[in-house]
Structure formats: C-alpha cells, structure tokens
Symmetry: C2
Subunit: 135 residues, 2 copies
Amino acid sequence: MDNRTRATTFAGEPCDMSSWDAGNCPVRDVMNQIAGKWSTLILEALAERPYRFGELRRLVPDISQRMLTQTLRDLQRDGYIDRQVFPTKPPSVEYSMTELGHSLFAPLSKVLAWAGDNHAAVKAARARFDASELA
Amino acid sequence: MDNRTRATTFAGEPCDMSSWDAGNCPVRDVMNQIAGKWSTLILEALAERPYRFGELRRLVPDISQRMLTQTLRDLQRDGYIDRQVFPTKPPSVEYSMTELGHSLFAPLSKVLAWAGDNHAAVKAARARFDASELA
DNA sequence: GATTGTTGGTCTCAAAAAGAGACTAGCGCT
DNA sequence: AGCGCTAGTCTCTTTTTGAGACCAACAATC
C-alpha cells in the first residue's frame, strides 16, 4: 500500500523529487521566505538602493508597520538584507541588500520582469476563467 | 503633509515605483499567486510532466487536500495550468502546464535553482542571526 | 453480497497568520 | 507646553490555512 504509492508516483523521475518533505527540501525552505506577500516588493526596492524603515513604509503604501517589521526581520535573518542603526537624535535605521541578496535578486528580477510583461495575459486568463465559472 | 511624503520618498527614482498600490501593480498582482506556499512546488512538478490530483497529493506529502484543490484552481485561473477530466469509472483529473505556465517557469526555475545552490548559505545566515539574537 | 478501496473533491471546525490601529520614548521645533 | 519625528511593539479583529470527516459511484475482494 505504501510501497505501491511510491512505485506509482516516483517511477524513475528525471527530476529530483525524492525529498519534498518539509524539512529537507531546499526549495521550500528558501522559497517560503521570499515567497511572502511583501518580500519581493521589499527586495525589489532594496535591490536598487538602501532605504530606511519609514521610506519603505511610504514606498509600499498598504503594508502594515507590523508586517514591514516582520518581513524585514525575516529577510535579515536569511541574510538577504543588512540592518544598520544610526544613533542620530531620533535613531534612524537603514536597510540595505547584502551580496547574498543581490545574487538572489539576479534570477528573481527575471521573474518580476516576466510578471510585468505578462500581466495582461494573466488578467485575460483570469477573466476567461471567471466567465466560464458563472455558467 | 501628503505631498511632502511623496516628495521625500519619490524624489526621481530611477526604478519605476510610481504605482505600487494594490490595484495597478503588475508585480504584486502576478506574484501574489505564484508566491503562495505551495504554488512553486506544484508548478515545479507540472513543469516536468502532467500529473493527476492524487499523484500531486502524494508527491507533496504535507499539503492538505483543501489547499491542493485551491492552489490548483488558482493556478488554473491565472492560466498557468490546464485541468482535464477523464470520464473513467472513478473519474480522473489530469493537470498539465500551459504555454503561459512554461514561459513563467523558465525564469522561475532559475530562482528555484538558486534556492538549491544557496540553501547552505541561507541556513548559515539564519544560524548566525539566531545566535546573535539570544544574546 | 457486504465490505473495502479508489477517484477528486467539499464541508466544518480549530489554529495560525495577517491587518488595523493605538501606544511607547526621547529629542527637535515652535 | 504641545506637536511631530523616529522605529517599532502590543492588542484586537479578520482572514488564511491546516486537519480531518464526509460524499457518490464504481471495482475488486472476501
């Protein structure tokens, strides 16, 4: 029963799908962070130049302070961005992209570009689907 | 006060960040779908060859049926995958990647490859961060 | 001929995540 | 004295996700 499942599913796949379990799958481990709702936006901004907390908040108007804080900390934790505190009178914090972050953003920016180029096609597909749904 | 915010934030940016609002931002509109927790996994599988519902479920062991159904419908809605029902005795359903899906997967696979290549670096950064946190 | 398994889902309920908005503290400006 | 700036945190509500039961028709098994 269990061996049949394996046999049916993984009968010599060319692609390595042998370890898609939560723990040992690199794709999931890495993607689950950068796939967040806000991560790509923040990365896109920081890829261009460093920004401060308040600047990012204004740049992405409808992110909550709470999620911005959390997204930034997650990105920092995974080594994509750096956090630097300047002891000015109201202390300011600057976020900047690390080398690792830039190396990730290289391929990621291609996906972002694809999104821009094919937005119309996606919207069209969506409209078609929704139309056929209300039949 | 409002104009000052704009002036401070968008003082002639080289990158086009003029419309990051929820509605008119292509990046957010497209990415919010493929950035889901499971979307990339399903796309990765379907990029290789078509799969049936149950096969996908077994392939990604810890996805719930509910989320698999929903993820597949979202991907279908955006035009990345096709859904074909075969009227066999217990009717079977096959999901396959469309042209649009493949064209998206081209750049996306580069990011996935990056994730595989740099998984160690990310885990290392994470460990460093966590260590400095419990100070 | 009754049980069991298979198909691809849906439904309900609990848990986790995200969003909205008030609140903090120290300093500058007026 | 009162307000606003900084970068956050805290709480509360709403949304999203996960776990698991249930469905109907048919096939093979016992």
